[in-house]
């Protein structure tokens, strides 16, 4: 059975382009602001939205997403708000997934979390700190509720290990473009294209590149070799630096439109 996310990649492959995937933490810049940001991004033409589950100890994230997570947690964001944001996103017609560190899933209940993803129209979950060795119960749950278990691979991941990880993955493979934490960068490393080609030797799944993309030109470059382009910190920076919520929303809408052009110019 195909998830909305699977269908997005079928469509973008048919159109010979990459998908644009936007990341926004639940409860950021505020509970109502998050819903508005989701609608703005969907209107601007993103193909899929990742709802971040803000977490107290985000070891994979740079200062930008850390700051957004702290703001969100101070605003009291919990699991109910994450699923509400997911529902808002999926209701717009884009594919919607949650990105979360593992402990909130374990605390919520592994089976229950997968069920709530499905109940709120979600396609899957990206789990950046869940290794395949610790995934037994999670893969049972994602299979039971027909959602995509999305794993992250890195330039340091060896070929044998890549094959093991991608064999457990659904939806798309998340290729972290550089060794490091999240955040906008001037250059998306050459490691990214090498990693994508190594991943593609192990799987037919779409491969999306994240970590560091912030401009139309970068989106275009990545879209030349990847099936999806993931943008997170660049949107969050705009929301953090805006003088008002509306100014921030206008800015992310404008950036998303630019990026949507970029992912169509790569090939």
């Amino acid at each position: 059975m195909s998830t909305p996310l699977d269908l997005v990649f079928e469509k973008t492959r048919a159109e010979n382009r990459a998908a644009l995937i936007a990341y926004i933490p639940a409860g950021f810049p505020s509970q109502s602001g998050c819903a508005k940001a989701i609608l703005t991004l969907a209107d601007a033409g993103v193909d899929a939205i990742e709802i971040g589950y803000p977490y107290s100890d985000p070891v994979m994230d740079g200062p930008t997403i850390q700051e957004a997570a702290e703001i969100s947690l101070k605003g009291g964001t919990g699991s109910a708000d994450v699923f509400a944001a997911l529902k808002t996103a999926s209701s717009t017609g884009v594919a919607a997934v949650v990105m979360t560190y593992w402990n909130p899933i374990e605390k919520y209940g592994v089976d229950a979390f997968a069920k709530s993803i499905s109940d709120n129209g979600g396609s899957g979950v990206i789990t950046p700190d869940l290794t395949i060795e610790e995934s037994g119960r999670w893969l049972e749950a994602t299979s039971k509720y027909a959602i995509n278990p999305i794993y992250v691979v890195a330039p340091s991941t060896g070929d044998a290990r890549l094959a093991q990880v991608t064999s457990k993955t659904g939806g798309f493979v998340y290729a972290a473009s550089v060794m490091g934490v999240t955040g906008a960068r001037t250059n998306v490393s050459v490691d990214a294209s090498e990693l994508v080609s190594r991943v593609k030797k192990t799987t037919q799944l779409p491969v999306s590149v994240g970590l560091g993309v912030s401009t139309r030109e970068q989106a275009k470059q990545v879209a030349a070799y990847a099936d999806g382009v993931i943008v997170g910190s660049a949107f969050i920076k705009l929301l953090l630096s805006a003088k008002s919520e509306q100014e921030g929303l206008d800015a992310i809408g404008a950036l998303a439109k630019e990026l949507a052009l970029g992912v169509r110019e790569g090939r």
Partner: protein, 398 residues
């Protein structure tokens, strides 16, 4: 009783394992291989033993504290004097082992986290000794509480980076060290200071500290002709405790008692007693007990002791707790400081506030077991670094 405490994936029952970004798997595999090779390499073991003999000052002695014991119902109390090690705590055991492994792996840079500063000082010391670049992450709050140790690390040539995210304590220092490691993993070894974190850290750090219990077991037997009735140690992440417990695990008649930091009292919520007051969860790459809320967010811990102020605990302790082989109790700030003062005045030994939690436990357990009992207490560190905190607590003008 034989307990198989770890499988090939680093599990202790349902605890342990690896919950880390894929970017770190290669480095963890490399470290695990280096550790496994070193364990059976006579040359490595001889090199480490020689360092311990000529640099650490091992074996550390045991001291019987008779005047202190008068306050513990008359039980016989023996202190394992890890406070007499070079750098003033047990932490040196682990850093020398890991520094040797770093050299074997061909890496030139180490990073470390520190709470009280004991591990940071030890890491900076080992780095200086072996010519490695050293960066220590320390919560901003802890740099204030432990300013003397910050200066020590700088004197030893380390760079100390104050961490301003989150609660600005040990937990956040570990987050920042892990971010550094993800970014610089090809050149850098993360010298984790306790028996937590992803596999192989809990097993490897325990292996470097188990010498504490191996020595103490022989020393107590030689002195008293029998095994102790109980072994006590303070627990933050749990490295000194697992170090002294490990050799006694098969001796099921010996009670193993870990003393957690009760802060203002477990019932107040302001504490760092992770096993006593927490629940199963994942933090910093391992599954264990965690102080967390209903959404799985880590809750800030509180303790007068910076070294115990951590909302997690090593997975082997979680396992020893669940199978009933070790017991874990909370000691409040006030009880720890009372024991701190008592050891100073009855024995002329100023303990680390961390270790004072174990001493406070001995005062209680001694009364429970009576005058026939022998207690072995790990005096994991000395209190020089705590003089300012203690002076503030007792109202001594500085």
């Amino acid at each position: 009783m034989t307990i198989e405490t770890s499988d090939v994936l680093g599990h202790f029952g349902q605890y342990g394992g690896r919950f880390v970004p894929e970017a770190l798997i290669g480095a963890l595999d490399e470290l695990e291989a280096a550790h496994n090779a070193a364990k059976v390499d006579p040359e490595f073991q001889a090199e480490l033993a020689e360092l311990h003999r000529t640099y650490t000052g091992r074996p550390s002695i045991i001291t019987e504290v008779k005047r202190f014991a008068e306050h513990a119902g008359g039980a016989r109390i023996l202190l394992k004097r890890e406070d007499l090690n070079h750098t003033g705590s047990h932490k040196i055991n682990n850093v020398l082992g890991q520094a040797l492994l770093t050299v074997k792996m061909g890496k030139k840079r180490i990073i470390a986290e520190t709470g009280a500063g004991q591990h940071g000082v030890a890491a900076a010391t080992a780095a200086a000794l072996m010519g490695l670049e050293c960066v220590v992450y320390m919560g901003e709050e802890d740099t204030r509480r432990q300013s003397l140790n910050v200066a020590r690390m700088k004197l030893l040539g380390a760079e100390v980076i104050p961490v301003t995210s989150g609660s600005r304590t040990l937990k956040d220092a570990i987050n920042e060290a892990m971010r550094d490691w993800v970014t610089n993993v090809a050149t850098t070894h993360y010298m984790l200071g306790t028996v937590a974190g992803p596999h192989p850290f809990p097993t490897m750090v325990r292996d470097f500290h188990k010498i504490i219990g191996e020595e103490a077991r022989e020393q107590v037997l030689a002195l008293t002709g029998k095994l102790p009735d109980a072994v006590l140690a303070c627990i933050g992440g749990g490295s000194n405790a697992i170090g002294i417990f490990h050799a006694f695990i098969p001796d099921t008649a010996v009670r193993l008692i870990g003393l957690e930091a009760g802060g203002d009292g477990v019932e107040t919520g302001r504490h760092a007693a992770t096993i006593t007051g927490g629940s199963a969860g994942v933090l910093h790459g391992t599954r264990s007990y965690v102080l967390q809320d209903e959404n799985g967010q880590t809750v800030e811990s509180h303790s007068i002791s910076a070294g115990l102020d951590y909302p997690g605990v090593g997975p082997e302790h979680a396992y020893l707790h669940d199978i009933g082989r070790a017991e874990y109790r909370a000691v409040n700030d006030d009880a720890a400081m009372e024991a701190f003062a008592l050891l100073c005045r009855t024995e002329g030994i100023i303990p680390a506030i961390e270790s004072a939690h174990a001493l406070a436990g001995a005062l209680i357990v001694g009364k429970e077991l009576g005058p026939q009992a022998t207690l072995l207490v790990n005096l994991s560190g000395r209190g020089d670094k705590d003089v300012q905190t203690a002076a503030e607590y007792f109202g001594i003008p500085l």
